[in-house]
C-alpha cells in the first residue's frame, strides 16, 4: 500500500504542474481566435507559463488549490484506508512538490501548514464493480471557487437598474448562468470552464456542478438536448466580451458542462461552479 501512497503523491505532482492536453488545446484555439495585441499577449503568457511549469516541474499557479478527490473503490477495500492514505500523501506532496499550504482552521485562523485539516482535502468515495481503484483529483483554485452561485428558480435577476425573471425552464437556466458569468467578470481567471447542475436538492447540485469540471472539454453530453444547451450557452457567454483575464475579447469560457438530476416538484435548483483557465484534474488507475 506504500506504493499507492507514492502514486497519489505523483498524481498531485502531475495535476499541480501540468494541465490536461484538452485544456491546453482549447487555450491555444483561444489564442488563435484573438486579434487584439493585449489579449493575445495575455494568452501567450498563459501558454508560456504552462510550458515553464511543465518543464521545470513547478506548480502552474501559486494557488495549488483545494484538493478534491473522487475515488472509485473496488469491493472489499476499506474506504477509510484510502482516506488515510490520501491524507498521508497530501502531507508529503505539500512538502515535496511543494504545494502551497491552503488549509486554514476557521476557529483559530491558523494555517495547518501541510494541507490537511477538517474535511481538507475533501474525499468522495464510492464502491465500484471494477477491479481497479480509480483516483480522480481536482486541484480547485480558490479565486474561481468564490464565483460559484446557487439559484432557486423562479429567480429575479437584477442587471443594472433592470430585472429579469429566470423561470423554471432552460431559458431560465441560461439566464442564471449568464448572470453568474457577468457577476464573475475577470475575478476568477478566465477563460473559464463552467460546471452546471440542474436538480432538486441543494447539496446534490453543488456536488454535481463541481464534478462536471472533471469532464474533458471536447466531451459531448450523451443527451442531445443538454448537448445543444451547452453549445448555445457557451456561445452566449462568449458574447459577453469579458474575455481572457477579464481584459476583453472573444473567449470568456472554453467549455460548459451541464448535469441534470431529477427534482422535487417544489424545487428547481441551478448550481454553477467555475474553474479558472488552469483547470487542473487528473486520474490515477491502480
Amino acid at each position: 500500500m506504500l506504493k499507492l501512497r507514492d502514486g497519489i503523491i505523483e498524481l498531485y505532482k502531475k495535476v499541480a504542474t501540468s494541465i490536461p492536453g484538452d485544456v491546453e488545446d482549447a487555450l491555444k484555439t483561444a489564442y488563435s481566435n484573438e486579434t487584439e495585441p493585449l489579449i493575445r499577449e495575455s494568452l501567450n503568457v498563459i501558454l508560456q507559463n504552462i510550458k515553464i511549469a511543465r518543464t521545470t516541474s513547478r506548480p502552474i499557479c501559486q494557488d495549488t488549490g483545494f484538493p478534491v478527490f473522487y475515488v472509485k473503490v473496488p469491493k472489499g477495500l476499506s474506504h477509510q484506508l484510502i482516506r488515510d492514505m490520501i491524507m498521508d500523501a497530501t502531507r508529503i506532496a505539500t512538502d515535496k512538490i511543494p504545494l502551497r499550504p491552503n488549509a486554514v482552521d476557521v476557529i483559530t485562523e491558523k494555517n495547518t501548514g501541510d494541507n490537511v485539516g477538517e474535511y481538507f482535502p475533501f474525499v468522495y468515495t464510492e464502491e465500484t464493480g471494477e477491479q481497479s481503484l480509480i483516483v480522480d483529483l481536482m486541484l480547485k483554485g480558490g479565486g474561481c471557487e468564490n464565483l460559484g452561485q446557487t439559484y432557486k428558480l423562479p429567480a429575479v435577476l437584477t442587471f443594472g437598474d433592470k430585472e429579469a425573471i429566470a423561470e423554471r425552464d432552460f431559458d431560465g437556466v441560461r439566464k442564471c448562468i449568464l448572470d453568474a458569468v457577468f457577476k464573475a467578470q475577470g475575478k476568477g481567471c478566465p477563460p473559464y470552464t463552467i460546471g452546471v447542475a440542474i436538480g432538486g436538492a441543494k447539496d446534490q447540485v453543488t456536488f454535481l456542478s463541481k464534478k462536471q469540471l472533471m469532464r474533458r472539454i471536447p466531451d459531448i453530453h450523451t443527451n442531445a438536448v443538454i448537448a445543444e444547451l451547452e453549445n448555445k450557452i457557451l456561445n452566449d457567454i462568449n458574447r459577453l466580451g469579458i474575455g481572457t483575464a477579464g481584459l476583453g475579447g472573444r473567449t470568456t469560457a472554453i467549455g460548459i458542462k451541464i448535469a441534470t438530476a431529477h427534482r422535487h416538484p417544489a424545487s428547481y435548483f441551478v448550481d454553477i461552479s467555475f474553474s479558472c483557465w488552469a483547470n487542473r484534474r487528473g486520474r490515477l488507475i491502480w
Binding site: 487584439e36 503568457v45 513547478r58 491558523k110 494555517n111 479565486g143 475577470g186 466580451g241 472573444r250
Partner: protein, 222 residues
C-alpha cells in the same frame, strides 16, 4: 465559431482595449507621483525594484489595527503592494520562491482605499481589478492598479529575483504573510489609473450591455 459573428459582437471586442498599444514602460520602485501620473490604462509596464505582498489578512490588519509605520519592517510609502500568496520554501536560512501569481484583488476592496491613504501606496499589483472606492482613492492620492496575468505563477516567479524577508509568517501563515520581493522586469498592464479611468469598469459596462441583449432574447431550447 465566434469569429463568424458580425456586427455588434465585433464592436464589443474593439471598444474596451483599443489599439492604443504603447511600448512597455520601465518603472522603478519607490514610485514617484510623476511616474504614477504618467501612466494610463492600457500601458504595459515592467516593474523593477522592491515590492511587498499583501492579501486578505494583511489588508484587514493594516486597515483595522493601523500599525505604526515604524512597527512595519518594510517601507510601504511610495511602494507597491502585490496581491499574492506565493509558494515559498525555506531552504536552510533562505527563502526560495517557487510560484507567485496574483490573487483576486476585489476581496480587499473594503480596505484598500484606507490602506492607500494611510500608508501612501503608489501601486497595487493584482488581478481582476478593483471597485469605485479604490479607484477614487487612487485618483485622490496618486496610485495605479497594475493588472498581471492570473495563474501565470511560474512565469512571474522567474521575474522575482529574490525574497528579501517576510513579516507575520507565523501569525498569518506563509501564503498570507507580507513578503519583501525584489522584482526585475515584472510585467503588468495598467488597468486603473490615477485619473479615474478603469478598464475593468469599461469591460463591465460592455458586458452589461451584452447581458441585457441576451436576457431579452428568448432562446429556450427547442
Amino acid at each position: 465559431m465566434l469569429g463568424k459573428q458580425k456586427g455588434k459582437a465585433d464592436m464589443v471586442e474593439k471598444s474596451a482595449v483599443s489599439s492604443q498599444q504603447s511600448a512597455s514602460k520601465r518603472i522603478n520602485t519607490p514610485l514617484t507621483e510623476d511616474i504614477v501620473m504618467s501612466l494610463r490604462i492600457g500601458d504595459i509596464v515592467l516593474v523593477n525594484g522592491l515590492i511587498v505582498t499583501g492579501r486578505d489578512k494583511v489588508h484587514k490588519f493594516l486597515a483595522h489595527e493601523k500599525p505604526d509605520k515604524k512597527d512595519i519592517p518594510f517601507e510601504l510609502h511610495d511602494g507597491i503592494i502585490y496581491h499574492c500568496g506565493p509558494i515559498i520554501k525555506k531552504v536552510d536560512d533562505t527563502y526560495k520562491l517557487i510560484a507567485a501569481g496574483p490573487t483576486t484583488s476585489m476581496r480587499v476592496e473594503m480596505y484598500e482605499a484606507d490602506v492607500i491613504k494611510t500608508y501612501g501606496i503608489r501601486g497595487i499589483i493584482g488581478k481582476g481589478g478593483m471597485g469605485e472606492e479604490t479607484l477614487n482613492a487612487m485618483k485622490e492620492y496618486g496610485c495605479v492598479y497594475l493588472h498581471t496575468i492570473s495563474g501565470a505563477a511560474a512565469y512571474l516567479a522567474d521575474r522575482i529575483k529574490n525574497v528579501r524577508d517576510g513579516w507575520k509568517i507565523e501569525e498569518f501563515g506563509a501564503p498570507e504573510a507580507m513578503w519583501l520581493l525584489e522584482v526585475e522586469e515584472f510585467p503588468a498592464v495598467v488597468t486603473m489609473d490615477a485619473r479615474g479611468n478603469s478598464l475593468h469598469r469599461d469591460i463591465e459596462k460592455i458586458s452589461l450591455t451584452k447581458l441585457k441583449e441576451l436576457f431579452l432574447e428568448k432562446r429556450g431550447i427547442s
